[in-house]
């Protein structure tokens, strides 16, 4: 029961993370603007993706701590 609740709580977050990551990655590669503009975009996108992963990890840690 506890495991099911944990999965129900955490799965949507992981799904949102993965969808955002791969969809926007695909947009970025397909609409790559000429010159240095693409590199600047990639940097910003990387910051957002890393930040999202860190927040997700913290949420996961607190979920585990809640259940222990």
């Amino acid at each position: 029961m506890r495991l099911i609740i944990a999965v129900i709580l955490f799965l949507p977050l992981v799904t949102v993370y993965l969808v955002m990551r791969f969809t926007l990655d695909s947009h970025l590669t397909r609409i790559s603007l000429p010159g240095n503009f693409s590199n600047a975009n990639k940097k910003i996108f990387n910051i957002f993706q890393t930040g999202g992963a860190v927040i997700l990890l913290l949420a996961f840690v607190f979920l585990i701590l809640t259940l222990i």
Binding site: L9, M20, H27, I31, P34, N41, F48, I55, A59, L63
Partner: protein, 195 residues
């Protein structure tokens, strides 16, 4: 993938004014800050509510404080992703003016993308619309290109320096038409030389 023609030179890339993105992100930043302050202050005043024991009867023992932290981080994650989406939209919505054409790329939602371009010989009219106090003060506005083709309107939304951009488009169009004229004259004279 967006590709330029051979010898096509990018004159400028325009996006919406940065203030538009900042205004969109402002409520999210406010909410995130409020949430962070809540997470810092909350443990000092926290008391386990009575209804929580009823909840625990079904699920087993849980740490309520960490549960609140988990929910707060989950909410923060959602805010972060919304900010990510808005920023991605800002960076991927662009108007690229080259010496041959104007290209517009736009992200319509998460799964829809739109790219269109018009060659400068098809431009019939360029108009600028700067409306509102903020737009006047910060010098941003809409620039509309009327074309002779199927897509009759081409709208640059809330771009900085719309008047300068209009000037640039007019100059680029003039040069483009001159080059075309020269080329067609040369082709004609080459034809006569062959005879």
């Amino acid at each position: 993938m967006l590709e330029l023609n051979k010898k096509e030179e990018v004159k400028t890339i325009k996006r919406r004014h940065i203030i538009i993105l900042k205004l969109e992100l402002l409520p999210l930043i406010g909410l995130a800050l409020a949430l962070i302050i809540f997470m810092i202050v909350f443990p000092f005043y926290f008391e386990v509510p009575e209804w929580f024991s009823v909840f625990e009867e079904y699920v087993g023992s849980l740490n309520p404080l960490f549960l609140i932290f988990f929910l707060s981080f989950a909410f923060l994650f959602v805010l972060w992703q919304i900010a990510f989406f808005l920023t991605a939209g800002y960076y991927l919505d662009a108007w690229i003016i080259t010496d041959q054409r104007t290209i517009h790329t736009e992200l319509n939602g998460l799964f829809s993308r739109y790219i269109s371009s018009i060659y400068h010989n098809r431009i019939q009219d360029v108009s600028v619309d700067v409306g509102g106090v903020l737009a006047t003060y910060l010098n941003y506005g809409n620039l509309q290109i009327q074309t002779a083709g199927k897509f009759r309107e081409f709208l640059f939304k809330q771009i900085p320096d719309p008047y300068e951009t209009k000037k640039l488009i007019m100059e680029v169009q003039r040069d483009f038409l001159k080059r075309r004229k020269k080329r067609s004259k040369k082709e004609k004279s080459d034809k006569y030389d062959d005879f």
